[in-house]
Amino acid sequence: MTLALVLGAALALACVLFVARPFLLDPEAKNDELDEPTAQERRRLELLERRDRALAALKEVEFDHRSGKISDEDYRGLVGALRRQAAEALRALEPTERSRMRNLEPPTQPDIPEPYPPPGELDPPTHPDIPEPYPPPGETEPPAPPQIPEPYPGTEPQV
């Protein structure tokens, strides 16, 4: 009985100390604000999701076309729309990325991944990551299928 009570009290004390730890370690916190994303960060995340969705869809369409699940005609129709979506997302991201880079403090900069090419390279028509659609039928001989999009520097296509 006594041992049980001692062990119970020890457990309670340990739990209280652990729960109070954030206050014990930092009793007079200069900043006690919860790290919530700003409106700009939320917007950026939304655009990143839109960009990733469009680029992933481009890969998917490319893969489905190669594996015979999408006809050439459907492929041409889909790839153009998806390229536009990806380009729009990349273009919309440009100002938020610039502003984000400006706002970053120098010491924290090395920790943040730098996944995007310099803003000048984001111009959709010349962006190397977005596959060029086939030219309209009859205009030229169909070229070799475009390279699978490479949305992230250093990563390989998923096919």
Partner: protein, 662 residues
């Protein structure tokens, strides 16, 4: 030491209340340290639950019958191995086990996501704390495993049907599945509370959902095997309410795992996914309520049970909370994206969702109907196998076909000409298989014939998918066939892991169709030396033997099995008499042919004192494919779960801001 167990549960309750209240206040007012403190409280509640469980395990190992729970679920003759089954064999112990897994999962989930989604975790903590309050409160105030009594000389023992290796694994897996569904629910609701319209919660819980779903699936399969080898009625699934209780959340989670891909790929079905994630959790709670409230035996025992009302109240609160939150956040969840075509991958996912949810709701109605009829008319009307089998055919067969059609469709749209080309092989092979089976006499069961034909379609479509994918990969990377195949799977584990799981479901369907639509049953009363015939087998009853085991008196009838002129060995079917528990169990004998997948299944239904035995024999074709499907299911789930470095890099890029500041 019961005091320590009680103290640990009270501490766990206190910590859960703090995690919920302080966590909600901190998240609402944006208080960093208070939020961290609430998170620590949730983690500490796991430590308190571990202490409570250790106290109970120690009491079982010491045969401390001063603990009422130990005295009611163990005995001195109970083998030590089954002490662990006894831990969750009763109501109080199983609730404690629920709490242990819940707090353990909660601690792991918040720790794993604390850097990548701190603002989301701030809202997840109070939701998880709220669920932990309910279970710890039940254990402290309503149904404590630490009640004490003057110790009797020996305990009442454990239900003999639980004295089986399956029962060491089956309940654990089911609990891991049930409780695992709490995590996606908490992150989904946390995301709504945090007013986040992004998909961070899906990314955070993708593996939790898949793992919980996998545990539920394998747990049910092991439960079916337990029923097959231990309960001894000649089958593996009886549409029992307890079995249905685990099947319903599994079906809804299956729907969620598919529809969440549509949200990830196209940003659609956000409201639907929230409803599914809440539905899966509510059904998991409902399953626990069904098994623990006493309502299954009678609505009257439900009112006598201390748990029933509390569980029903908590389920009502969870439903009201989830629906209100989803309704409040509708503007955040609405999307403008629409379905491009009815012949697309996402459309096939939508069809499969409708079928899965409809199937789940019909099962729910079958479970509730006897209870409601008793409540209204005072008379219990049972819903039996034919009701469920009808809906299994109505919803299950189209679902089986969709498993073959879906992978052949492209995202967004597929033209009719392409469809004709991609379906050519699967359709041709399945029609040939169907025709051959019809010629061989499989038409005796139309649902069975359709199931086999559809299964052929799915298998061929999976093979075609792998071949086309490997060929495309080979063309892109210039790799050899084996390298191209392995890179194909490694680069898209969810997709190809999913196809392996589809293959497992097909094997399951073939096994179920074979063993339920084409089985043969014979019954005979035999004296030693007499024989019975069944589907080409001759079963000859030789003699009766008796022996004493550690905790039971065993009687076995030895039966020689012959097929034509060749001997197939001896079966030993009989009964075990457990003197402490005062119960008798059927011990069936099974002769498996691992080449054909067929089983000869023998039950000694009645053993007379003069040595006469009343036998029931069954031949179940292809039944072993059901168990084989389990291994393939595990393999597919592991492939889909396996971490992907490329995916991690991509997500670190997307959510990097949070990681960088944490």
């Amino acid at each position: 030491m019961a005091e320590l167990g009680r103290a640990a549960l009270v501490i766990c309750l206190g910590l859960s209340v703090y995690a919920a209240a302080a966590g909600a206040y901190a998240a609402y007012r944006g208080r960093r340290r208070l939020s961290l403190s609430a998170r620590n409280a949730l983690i500490a509640s796991f430590v308190a639950a571990v202490v409570a469980v250790l106290v109970l395990v120690a009491a079982f190992l010491r045969n401390d019958f001063g603990f009422t729970y130990v005295a009611e679920h163990s005995s001195r003759r109970l083998p030590a191995l089954y002490t662990f089954s006894a831990l969750w064999g009763g109501q109080e112990g199983s609730l404690l086990f629920w709490l242990l897994i819940l707090t353990g999962f909660a601690a792991a989930a918040v720790l794993l996501n604390r850097r990548s989604a701190p603002d989301l975790v701030a809202w997840v903590v109070p939701v998880l704390g709220g669920v932990a309050i309910f279970f710890s409160f039940m254990l402290v105030a309503v149904s404590s495993p630490f009640d004490t009594q003057p110790a009797p000389v020996d305990g009442a023992g454990l239900n003999p049907s639980l004295q089986n290796l399956h029962m060491l694994i089956h309940p654990v897996l089911l609990y891991l599945g049930y409780v695992g569904l709490t995590i996606p629910f908490a992150f989904g609701m946390g995301s709504l509370l945090a007013k986040r319209g992004d998909e961070r919660w899906i990314v955070a819980t993708r593996r939790w959902t898949l793992a919980a779903w996998g545990f539920l699936g394998i747990g049910q399969l092991i439960g079916a095997h337990w029923a097959y080898v231990e309960v001894g009625w000649g089958g593996y699934y009886a549409w029992d309410p307890v079995e249905n209780a685990a099947f319903m959340p599994w079906l809804v989670s299956t729907a969620f795992l598919h529809s969440v891909m549509v949200q990830e790929k196209k940003g659609m079905l956000r409201i639907w996914n929230m409803l599914l994630v809440a539905g899966g959790f509510v059904l998991a709670l409902f399953g626990t309520f069904l098994t623990r409230s006493g309502i299954l035996s009678s609505i009257h025992s439900f009112t006598e049970s201390p748990l029933g009302g509390w569980f029903l109240g908590f389920i009502a609160i969870v439903i009201a909370f989830s629906l209100a939150l989803i309704f409040l956040r509708l503007p955040l969840l609405r999307t403008k994206t629409k379905l491009d075509s009815l012949a697309s991958r996402e459309a096939s996912f939508l069809y499969n969702n409708l079928l899965l949810v409809a199937f789940s709701l019909t099962i729910l109605w079958g479970v509730l109907y006897p209870i409601l009829s008793e409540a209204v008319t005072g008379q219990r009307n049972h819903v039996s196998g034919p009701y469920y089998n009808f809906f299994l055919h109505v919803f299950g067969l189209p679902l089986l076909l969709l498993m073959g059609i879906g992978p052949l469709l492209a995202w967004r749209k597929t033209s009719l000409r392409t469809l004709a080309r991609t379906w050519a092989w699967p359709a041709a092979v399945s029609l040939v298989v169907g025709a051959i089976l019809l010629a061989l006499g499989a038409g005796s069961s139309i649902p069975g014939l359709i199931a086999y034909t559809f299964s052929a379609f799915v298998i061929v479509s999976i093979v075609v998918e792998f071949v086309r994918g490997t060929r495309a990969r080979k063309a892109v990377a210039g790799e050899s066939w084996p390298t191209a195949f392995s890179s194909l799977v490694a680069r898209n584990r969810r997709r190809y892991g999913g196809y392996v799981i589809h293959a497992a479901i097909v094997l399951l369907a073939i096994g179920i169709a074979g063993s339920s639509a084409y089985d043969t049953t014979r019954e005979a009363k035999l004296r030693p030396g007499q024989s019975m015939e069944i589907r080409g087998y001759t079963l000859t009853y030789r003699r009766l033997v008796q022996r004493e085991s550690e905790n039971a008196r065993e009687v076995r009838a030895l039966v020689d099995v012959r097929r034509g002129t060749s001997s197939e060995g001896t079966l030993s079917a009989g009964k075990n008499n457990y003197p402490v528990e005062r119960q008798v169990s059927n011990e069936v004998a099974i002769r498996s042919n691992l080449v054909t997948g067929e089983d000869v299944y023998l039950i000694a239904q009645q053993v007379e004192t003069d040595g006469t035995v009343f036998f029931k024999a069954e031949v179940l074709p292809l039944v072993n494919l059901i168990w084989l499907a389990g291994f393939i299911f595990i393999g597919g789930t592991l492939i889909a779960l396996w971490p992907d470095a490329r995916e991690s890099r991509r997500l670190a890029d997307r959510y990097g801001y949070a990681a960088a500041r944490a």
